[in-house]
């Protein structure tokens, strides 16, 4: 890439070397620039399947679907880690190799470059006219010192000898190149450190409820290998209110416009609470731990009385959103304390209810303009005592006795009560609240990663735009009082050397000094292209 770069010879296979020879050969091979390139290519190629197959870390439900649709194929794909590409051993292997290769490549190059920086430009070659750029002009009274000063003014590094000047500039190119590769290394380190020393987790929070940042409070918690549970930033907050705004009319009716969650945040236990308006692009930041608003839904509140007239359930029920366009939601209520029989409910929550022509009810808008709940009630043993873990979002109705099943009966409005048949109790829709889902993440690698990325761009721009070039000037004494003649040669080996012709002619003009006329300066330039 630079003039003096020794071109690294292809590592030739050592014939009859001992194990050390083979090791050295392998190391050379691994740390050659070409291998680094191929590994970078492989790294990119390795990420392709991650975009084509559903990934567990991103959409586990799609992976489950894949298993259901084609179990045989899925099992094979899974054996090859194709559902966990970015945590698979073979993916790790490519980037570890890349890492080693980059390190092995950058460190010796940096040393060579440091030596290069201290070295002076090499002396002028014998025959300047052989160089790609060459010019001669007559310069009465020119001296080596004057010519050297003119080159210095053009920010060249200059050495002089008897009757010659050698100058070089563009060292920033290799500096940029090294910066770029070094920064890529730093980026890999930062990403890895973020994974090891950071954590992330999800929680669902209903309006009116609070969250304190402890491992137990998470619905899902994924720590890095090096995160002790006590190290979590001890903040807490309460969700006071959540507002979603939607387009109300027109072709885009129902499209969300804005989500805003009003929080009361305590940065530390006992710290005064401060209000915070959590929005999609405005996460809450408490000392580097970020809280993001990533989803929302409805949590209607119910009051359920059992056959004996006692309250068997009272409170908010977070529902899963079945349809993003209308926010038709599905909820499950389990009342294991109901007597004489346990009660279970499946509820379809319709935020903006209308009656369709066929007599069924449906939601037509995501906002809660006319919220109702369609109730399907069951009684019997909910199976909670069997000890098998159950999802709160699912009700196994196999062994239950259906009580209310009407799809076309008018759904419950807010404040309305549905008595269950046979004196089994009643259910009342008491109100509508909303829930938000949050992602809380701590990633100590994110700022270093950003810095590394920024430096890599800087390095890249330098290495792409700076050109390494050398200029030699030789002063020939004029015989018998004739004016001295100056010979200039120039060289660049960098891509984009095209523009060098132009720069060279400017350098020649500068060398001629202010006294030389413009027209004269043109004549002397011999373009060797």
């Amino acid at each position: 890439m630079t003039l003096t770069d020794e071109v690294r010879a292809d590592p030739v296979r050592p014939a009859g070397f001992g194990p050390m020879g083979w090791l050295r050969w392998a190391w050379r091979l691994l740390t050659s620039m070409r291998t680094a390139l191929i590994l970078l290519f492989l790294f990119a190629l390795a990420s392709v399947p991650g975009s084509l197959y559903p990934q567990r870390s991103i959409s586990p439900e799609k992976v489950a679907q894949y298993f259901k649709d084609s179990p045989g194929l899925a099992a094979w794909l899974d054996r090859l880690w194709l559902f966990d590409v970015f945590t698979s051993p073979w993916f790790a292997a490519t980037y570890l190799l890349l890492f080693i290769s980059l390190a092995g490549c950058v460190i010796p190059r940096a040393n060579a470059h440091l030596r290069e920086l201290r070295r002076t430009p090499p002396a002028a070659p014998r025959n300047l006219s052989r160089l790609p750029q060459h010019a001669t002009f007559a310069a009465p009274g020119a001296t080596v010192e004057v010519l050297a000063a003119r080159l210095r003014k053009k920010r060249f590094r200059v050495v002089t000898g008897p009757g010659w000047v050698a100058a070089e500039k563009g060292y920033l190119r290799e500096t940029g190149n090294l910066l770029f590769h070094g920064a890529l290394l730093a980026l890999l380190v930062a990403v890895a450190a973020g994974g090891l020393y950071g954590y992330r987790g999800n929680v669902l929070l209903v309006e009116g409820n609070g969250f304190a940042n402890t491992v137990a409070a998470y619905d899902r918690y994924i720590p890095g290998q090096r995160v002790p549970a006590e190290s979590l930033e001890p903040f807490s907050f309460t969700l006071e209110d959540f507002q979603a705004t939607y387009v109300a009319t027109g072709e885009r009716r129902g499209q969300p416009l804005d989500f805003s969650a009003r929080l009361k945040v305590a940065d530390r236990p006992g710290a005064p609470e401060r209000p915070y308006d959590l929005r999609v692009n405005e996460p809450l930041d408490v000392d580097g731990t970020q809280t993001y608003l990533i989803g929302h839904g409805y949590a209607p509140t119910f009051k359920i009385l059992d056959g004996k007239g006692q309250v068997a359930f009272e409170g908010a029920v977070p529902c899963l959103t079945a349809d993003q366009a209308t926010y038709t939601s599905e909820c499950v209520i389990k009342a294991p304390d109901a007597e004489p029989d346990q009660l279970g409910f499946l509820v379809r929550f319709l935020p903006t209810t209308v009656r369709a022509q066929d007599g069924s009810y449906l939601s037509v808008f995501p906002g809660a303009a006319n919220p109702t709940a369609q109730v399907f009630a069951f009684s019997g043993d909910l199976g909670l005592r069997s000890g098998k873990p159950q999802s709160v979002y699912q009700l196994d109705t196999k062994n239950l006795k259906p009580l209310v099943m009407g799809v076309n009966t008018k759904p419950l409005g807010v404040g309305e009560t549905l008595p269950l048949p046979g004196g089994a109790g009643s259910i009342q829709l008491t109100g509508v609240r909303e829930w938000i889902s949050l992602q809380i993440a701590y990633d100590p690698g994110r700022v270093p990663a950003l810095l590394a990325a920024g430096l890599s761009v800087l390095g890249l721009v330098l290495s792409l735009t700076v050109r390494r070039r050398r200029i030699w000037v030789r002063l020939k004494e004029g015989q018998d009082g004739a004016p001295a003649e100056v010979e200039v040669g120039g060289l660049t080996r960098t891509e984009g050397g095209a523009g060098f012709t132009e720069e060279f002619s400017q350098i020649v003009t500068a060398l001629r000094g202010p006294e030389a006329g413009e027209t004269a300066s043109r004549q002397g330039v011999k373009d060797a292209h």
Partner: protein
């Protein structure tokens, strides 16, 4: 957050796009006539024009004094068809005029394209690149911008016919298959980052398209005599565009990561768009590297460049339409 859409302006925008397609097609015809019958622009002396007209940032310095640059005379494309020493075979006079008219038509098309973007943005009260339709319209605009700027400084008018065709096809595709009514964006896009991240992606893509066009011409043009400039020249044009586009693309990806850190709770998560942005980046990096260090030239380098271009197009079309992810804002109808 503005929710009202000015439908008058939105309709104006749609009409301006149709006008733009028409203008690009007409410009294409003009460029083609010039290419077929006009003065062969990049004949032997012109090779030097390119070297002298230097577009690399280092060589940007003002007054140019090499002999090559003097021969160039004007360097402003629009009028250099006039007042140039006669070529071997005198082209018909109308052919020279065709070139001037073509440049005028594509400049006019550029203006209506810009007008369409502005009208669209004002009608919805936001940046006009919030879905795939708007994005493709903006990329076509960027490609034509890149071409017009380049042809004003270097003799690359031969690209005109092909860039115009690409832009007209792109716009036609957008109008036919991607058009959605102007309107507000979802909350995730309601951020100043859209101005940074997407704008950078657009301009990088525009330049990559110009480079891609030059690369395809390289492959279709044989080594023999042709009305197109030599292969070396085609390669140089492509390389120059990529040298400028690549840092912009890098910046766009980093800005995307910064935005993702605000919007999605992580700066990198191997979402399909992220994967392909990365692959595209690696492919272009490989191209630059192969040229700079390994000294690749000619066919091999062009093929690497076109593979990278394929990744770019797949990211734009394939990922938006076939793969779903967090980045699915494209609203493909």
């Amino acid at each position: 957050m503005p929710t009202d859409v000015n439908f008058g302006l939105a309709t104006l925008s749609d009409q301006l796009i149709l006008a733009t397609v028409l203008l690009y097609v007409l410009a294409m015809i003009g460029y083609a006539l010039d290419l077929g019958f006009g003065r062969v622009q990049a004949a032997a002396p012109a090779r030097e024009l390119v070297t002298a007209g230097g577009g690399t940032p280092v060589a940007e310095a003002g007054d140019v004094q090499t002999p090559g640059a003097r021969a160039d005379g004007s360097g402003t494309g629009a009028d250099d068809a006039v007042g140039v020493p006669p070529a071997v075979r005198q082209p018909p006079a109308w052919a020279a005029r065709a070139a001037t008219i073509a440049v005028a038509l594509s400049s006019l098309g550029w203006a209506t394209n810009l007008g369409a973007l502005i009208a669209r943005g004002v009608s919805a009260g936001r940046w006009p690149w919030g879905n795939m339709y708007e994005f493709v319209v903006a990329i076509c605009f960027a490609a034509v911008t890149a071409f017009l700027v380049m042809q004003a400084r270097q003799p690359v008018r031969f690209l005109g016919a092909f860039v115009s065709v690409a832009a007209a096809l792109g716009l036609g595709f957008a109008v036919r298959y991607l058009h959605v009514q102007a309107g507000p964006v979802v909350p995730a896009l309601n951020s100043y980052w859209i101005a940074i991240h997407v704008t950078a992606a657009i301009f990088a893509s525009g330049l990559f398209i110009v480079a891609g066009v030059a690369g395809i011409l390289f492959l279709t043009r044989g080594d023999g005599p042709s009305r197109l400039p030599g292969r070396e020249e085609l390669e140089r044009v492509a390389h120059r565009a990529i040298v400028i586009a690549f840092p912009i693309w890098t910046f766009a990806v980093i800005a995307g990561a910064l935005w993702a850190d605000k919007a999605w709770g992580r700066y990198w998560g191997w979402d399909p768009k992220e994967v392909w942005a990365f692959i595209t980046w690696v492919a272009y990096a490989a191209y630059l590297h192969a040229r700079a260090t390994a000294g690749w030239r000619g066919r091999a380098a062009v093929i690497v460049q076109l593979i990278a271009f394929g990744c770019l197009l797949f990211n734009l079309i394939g990922v938006n339409i076939f793969l779903s992810g967090l980045h699915s804002y494209a609203q493909v109808p």
